[in-house]
Symmetry: C2
Subunit: 343 residues, 2 copies
């Protein structure tokens, strides 16, 4: 059972394949009646000409890059995509976004597809759940397929554009300490994301640089979605023994923080009087929430733009370029969900 090819169509229509090709490509040299006949045979046989074969001979210069993200429904990646797209479009590149949904198999499959389809390069937010698998990245390197990582992956020399998450969290904790907070906890992100790991690490480091004492039960495993923040919030603060106000929560990201705020509202716990909250990412909704969210502003769009810039440089360079590493700094944005502890 073979796929129908141009030959099948040609034979059936009683013309040469060159004529069929001319029809496919809308060449004006074909007689109307022949065209009609060929078209109807194409239809009848449900013939789908193979793009790969067509572009082998043609010199159809296509400019396209991939953006491999980890989660579709995370505003972080939306902003990132916007940044990538802005730079890419300025340089006439089309962006194809695909999500691994934090599954390594998917990541591998997608990179393979990008290569197979001759997408010119890709930006990757790598999945890192414990065991780091990098065979597919090595394959990309072997094939000289340009790519930029959005997180450092141990064991591979590659272009990386990332955010200084450790420092970001440290700023947040220091701010809370300066406000007089003594009970500071962390709603942490999903394990597979090294963002989460770095933020956690920053949280711990911040403690070591403050008068506070770190202990593991200050870390509340949460997740990355609104409902994660909401549910964990209801769960944690629903327990009387955890209601030792005032306290402060540093959240993995803004969406979680907003979920947590909603949880606290449901529990009639005041923000920020009882609980101060700090998010992470500064998504558009953060500043418009009520109360407006104090958060760490990450230059996400900039991150995307820089990644696209490096990627496209690599794509267009004749020779292999030196690996580039870029770390963007984050900034604490103080709004309404944090306040000083009353003496």
């Amino acid at each position: 059972m073979k796929k129908t090819t141009i030959n099948d169509v040609a034979e059936r229509a009683g013309v040469s394949k060159a004529t069929v090709s001319a029809v496919i490509n809308g060449k004006p040299t074909v007689k109307a009646s022949t065209r009609e006949r060929v078209l109807s045979i194409m239809k009848e046989l449900n013939f789908r000409p193979k793009g790969q074969a067509r572009n082998l001979k043609r010199t159809f210069i296509d400019k396209s890059i991939g953006l491999l993200i980890r989660e579709l429904d995370n505003p972080f990646y939306t902003s990132l995509a916007v940044g990538v797209k802005k730079y890419a479009n300025q340089h006439n590149y089309t962006v194809f976004i695909s999500s691994s949904e934090c599954n390594h198999q998917n990541e591998e499959k997608i990179t393979k597809l990008l290569v197979a389809k001759d997408i010119k390069g890709t930006i990757i937010a790598p999945v890192m759940n414990g065991t780091v698998e990098i065979d597919h990245l090595f394959r990309l390197k072997m094939l000289n397929f340009p790519f930029v990582l959005l997180e450092e992956v141990p064991g591979i020399q590659a272009n990386v554009v990332s955010i200084n998450n450790i420092d970001a969290i440290k700023k947040a904790v220091k701010f809370l300490v300066d406000l007089g907070h003594k009970r500071i906890i962390h709603f942490s992100g999903p394990e597979y994301a090294s963002h989460a790991y770095e933020r956690l690490k920053g949280f711990r480091q911040a403690f070591s640089e403050s008068p506070l004492i770190y202990s593991d039960d200050l870390i509340i495993p949460c997740g990355s979605h609104f409902h994660d923040g909401l549910n964990k919030g209801l769960d944690y603060f629903g327990k009387k023994e955890n209601q030792k106000f005032p306290m402060a929560v540093v959240c993995y990201n803004d969406v979680v923080a907003l979920g947590l705020i909603s949880a606290l509202q449901k529990l009639n716990i005041r923000v920020p009087e009882d609980v101060s909250i700090i998010g992470n990412d500064d998504i558009e909704f953060a500043r418009h929430w009520s109360p407006a969210l104090t958060t760490i502003s990450t230059p996400i769009e900039e991150l995307g733009r820089k990644a696209a810039e490096i990627l496209i440089h690599n794509i267009e360079a004749k020779e292999r370029l030196k690996v580039k590493k870029l770390v963007l700094e984050a900034q604490l944005i103080i709004r309404e969900t944090t306040c000083a502890v009353k003496k």
Copy 2:
């Protein structure tokens, strides 16, 4: 100035191209020293083997579909993408998302690329700014390239999965009328979206079925983003002559509605006592906003899933399938941003 090919590598390395091919594909039959030599030449020449050519001979069955949306940073499309992805992944398809940013040229370019790359089919949210251009859709039909539209496009017979927007808005207006509202206006969407047009049409129709009298100045052209709702809200309600409370606003979508709420809060206008607000789409944030948004719930994920289902059916069918049209119904979700007019 030609691209380097496998022949260049072979020649330079003093081996046949079959050997280079074996190296590229990680065949274990190659002697280690040869492999090393070939690899280093590949590196030196920055050789990127062409996926198109590789897959011409190989039978690499790839399952991939495109999703061509109109705006990257619109939660509507995020939910849609989630729905598409869920169905697609169940059937082992990878989804590539690309956005036209409401520009017809982009839409055309992207469809062309999808075909060129042998993506197996695509879902399209068509750009419709006044002059409807459908040449590229006709091309897809000619090439028997499977696609599903997310809106009816006049002039083309194609699969369509859409939302009954007209009815949705009518439900909203009727609800407000029943609450005793007399001053009902519409913050309308961008002109290019036929969603916007349909919602407007529904708004008008609803008036004709009520005691109210329609007039064009009830339509406030707004847009589709948070800042559109915010700015237009400040603009419109900032004017004393427009402050004839109570009144009600039906918004193009939820994001606009949330922006409008923020504007009213800044202006110290009460929601819903002074102004009742109804959104459209029921994005996740809508129910969590403060006050929670009354809105029209559109089964967006379902929309995506259905579109993917029809698309994949068409991809896998041997013969051409009959065109399918599906209209999903919307539902009014009453929350906190609407209330009855006090007698």
